[in-house]
Structures are given as structure tokens and as C-alpha cells.
């Protein structure tokens, strides 16, 4: 999208347009770098309050993926104010504010436009020490890969849209998507890891491939070890796979080597676009046990080692 758009280089841009990373990072001083990101989307659940929580957690996630701490947030709102009750918008913003509070950040403004389709999200500013900023480019051969949330929210959101999802699974995915990556990020920063990205629209395999390419390494994933919301398998088999999963699969296929023993439905799930997904972390092998221990202590219950990093072939993923 940005091809052909050029600008003068600024040495303080630590992560910019030329990188396929989660947020932009700009060095202010030797001690402080600014992390900036924004994201907004259309409702994914029926409850306006829960939608607000999910959209906010999703927007804040990019700061956590860079190893940073969010400071301020601004609302981005599209709403058909003439057609819908403003109480709905109030609930969305209330949900968002609750999550901003949980993140320890503050809401300092925002902007709304009239639009026939509801959209909500945040522009978030955070900080990180320039030397501690985590990107998807730091994975090293020998690292282990850790995923902190189970996959399947895209499939289950499609089932919800179809009116087929029961209340308890709806509550489960709502809780997962509204959960901040704050604890997971704090754990990895305390332990010290090599690379991180968050899993969103490209699915696990897409974001893992970006990490492989940016780090110039190969990744080996063990699909049976990937945490999955159990109901996602059922609904994927029933044909409730979002178009994005098929698109992702098609788009990434040349860089994927899928072993003969891998269930095809797990490939669909590993390509499933996630909303407010977990962190994918590359951690030196000797630190992996203490990272998992810390994640579990912080109640990041799904955290699992799902693969490792190899030198060859760079930019590719093998699923075995």
C-alpha cells in the first residue's frame, strides 16, 4: 500500500514504514522512545460494552508487542448518530475506558465521524527504553517460540455471526479478546526475550512468517502443541471458516511446508485471523522455562511452547 511513498530518513525512527512490525517507534532521548499505533474495526460481538473492551485491548496490544508500556489513548469513533441511540456509543466508550484503565493508561481525547457503520478503536502512545524495544526481527536460531493465547477467535466470531454459538463459548471468546497482553508483556520484559509480535489479522502462520522474514531465520512449528479453543475445531469442520483464513493460507502457502501428519483443520486454525490475539515470543532456550513459569504465575494460562527457531531455510516455516 505504501510502495512509492518516500520520505527523508530520520535516525531517530527505530521502527518505521519499511518494517512489517506492530507499531512505530521513535527515539526521543537515549532513555526514552515513543511507541505509536492505532487500530479500529467494526463490531465483532453483539454487546456494545464488550465490543468496546475488545477493540481497546486489540489497539493496546501493539504497544505490548514492542515490549512497551501504554501511556495515553485517544478514541477513534465512527457511528450513525442519527439512526442509533447514543446510549450504544456510550457503552462502547465505557468498555474501552475500562480496558484503558486496566492498562494503566489514560484517555486524553479522540475524534468521531458520522458513518452508517459502527467502528471503534484507539490511537495509543506508549514508551519503551530504546535498547529494550522488542521487534519481530530479533529471533535467533535456537530460540523457542511461545504463544500466549489460544487460537480460534476468527472462526468462533463467524459462528457467532451465524447465530450458532452458545452463550458460554461466546463468553469465553469475549473474555479472551478483551484480555490485555499486559501480563504477558511484563513477563517477557522481566525475563528478557529476543523477539515478539502479536497475532492478529494474518493469523499465527502469517505473523510467524513475518517474524521469520524480518529475523532472517526459519521457524519450526508443532501444530499439536499450539493452544486452540476446542470449539474452534468443531465450527471449522462445520464450514464456519472466515474468508480471511482461506486468503491467508493461499497467500502464505509458498513459504509454508506442512508435514503429512498435520491435520488440515489445524492449518485452517493457524491461518485464522485473530482479533486481539496473543503474543508470539522468541525466547532463548535456557530462559524458556522461567518465562513459562512467570506467564502461568500471572495467569496467562494458555501460554505454550509451540516451536523453535532454526537458521535454515530463512523466511520459511515448517509445520511438523
Amino acid at each position: 500500500m505504501l510502495q512509492g511513498l518516500t520520505q527523508e530518513r530520520d535516525p531517530n525512527v527505530l521502527v518505521g514504514l519499511d518494517r512489517s512490525d506492530d507499531a512505530g517507534v521513535y527515539r526521543l532521548t537515549g532513555e526514552i522512545a515513543l511507541i505509536q499505533t492505532l487500530d479500529f474495526f467494526t463490531p465483532i460481538v453483539d454487546s456494545p460494552y464488550d465490543f468496546g473492551r475488545i477493540a481497546a485491548a486489540n489497539s493496546l496490544s501493539d504497544v505490548y508487542a514492542m515490549g512497551g508500556r501504554p501511556l495515553t489513548a485517544m478514541n477513534i469513533v465512527c457511528f450513525p448518530i442519527k439512526e442509533l441511540d447514543s446510549a450504544i456509543l456510550h457503552l462502547i466508550l465505557q468498555g474501552g475506558l475500562e480496558i484503558i484503565g486496566q492498562a494503566g493508561a489514560v484517555l486524553i481525547g479522540g475524534h468521531s465521524v458520522e458513518d452508517p457503520e459502527i467502528k471503534y478503536g484507539l490511537s495509543v502512545t506508549g514508551t519503551v527504553h530504546p535498547k529494550q524495544c522488542l521487534t519481530n526481527a530479533g529471533a535467533r536460531p535456537g530460540d523457542l517460540l511461545v504463544l500466549t493465547k489460544p487460537l480460534g477467535t476468527g472462526i468462533l466470531a463467524t459462528a457467532l455471526k451465524a447465530g450458532l454459538l452458545d452463550q458460554s463459548t461466546t463468553a469465553q471468546i469475549t473474555g479472551l479478546m478483551a484480555a490485555l497482553n499486559k501480563d504477558a508483556a511484563e513477563a517477557m520484559v522481566e525475563i528478557g526475550v529476543n523477539a515478539c509480535t502479536d497475532i492478529t489479522g494474518f493469523g499465527l502462520l502469517g505473523h510467524a512468517l513475518e517474524m521469520a522474514a524480518a529475523s532472517n531465520v526459519g521457524l519450526r512449528l508443532y501444530p499439536k502443541k499450539v493452544p486452540v479453543i476446542p470449539e474452534a475445531k468443531t465450527y471449522a469442520a462445520m464450514g464456519l471458516v472466515p474468508a480471511g483464513s482461506y486468503t491467508n493460507q493461499k497467500f502464505w502457502t509458498k513459504d509454508l511446508q506442512i508435514g503429512p501428519g498435520v491435520e488440515p483443520i489445524l492449518v485452517d486454525i493457524m491461518c485464522d485471523p485473530q482479533t486481539s490475539g496473543g503474543l508470539l515470543i522468541a525466547v532463548p532456550e535456557e530462559k524458556a522455562p522461567s518465562l513459562i513459569k512467570k506467564l502461568v504465575a500471572k495467569k496467562v494460562a494458555a501460554a505454550s511452547i509451540i516451536g523453535d527457531v532454526v537458521a535454515e531455510p530463512p523466511g520459511k516455516i515448517e509445520c511438523r
Binding site: A159, M238, G239, P242
Partner: protein
């Protein structure tokens, strides 16, 4: 006379919902479903199979696919 479900122009999960509804209510043992995306084709075939129906034929058309599904005995 086969039942026909025309799900062209609709995005997922709509074609799947229409297929599942038709499977639930039909008295026929064959249903023809018309879709216009690869996603809908794949998902409709999965939906039918998961309900114990067989995909008898997938006929590519200029503007999509005609999928015939058959009730298994």
C-alpha cells in the same frame, strides 16, 4: 425436483446458514447450492459433510460454482 439455494452475492457465514436451514427443513434428498466465492464453496461443502450429506458434484460456472449435495442413506 431438487431444492435450489441461491447464495450468490452473499458472504460467509450466510451461504452456510442457508445450506444448514435447507438441510434441516427439506423433504428432498438432493439440494443444489449456488455460490460465487471459493470460501463459500469450501464452507458449504464442509457444512454438508458435517451434517452427514455427501458432496455429489461441484460444477464450476462463469460466476462461481453449482454444488450438488445428496443425503446419505
Amino acid at each position: 425436483m431438487n431444492k435450489i439455494v441461491d447464495a450468490r452475492g452473499l458472504s460467509c457465514p450466510q451461504p452456510v446458514i442457508m445450506t444448514l436451514d435447507e438441510i434441516k427443513t427439506t423433504q428432498e434428498d438432493k439440494i443444489l447450492i449456488m455460490v460465487d466465492t471459493d470460501t463459500a464453496k469450501e464452507n458449504v461443502c464442509r457444512a454438508a459433510t458435517a451434517q452427514g450429506w455427501a458432496v455429489a458434484e461441484i460444477q464450476p460456472e462463469d460466476d462461481g460454482y453449482r454444488i450438488t449435495i445428496r443425503k446419505e442413506d
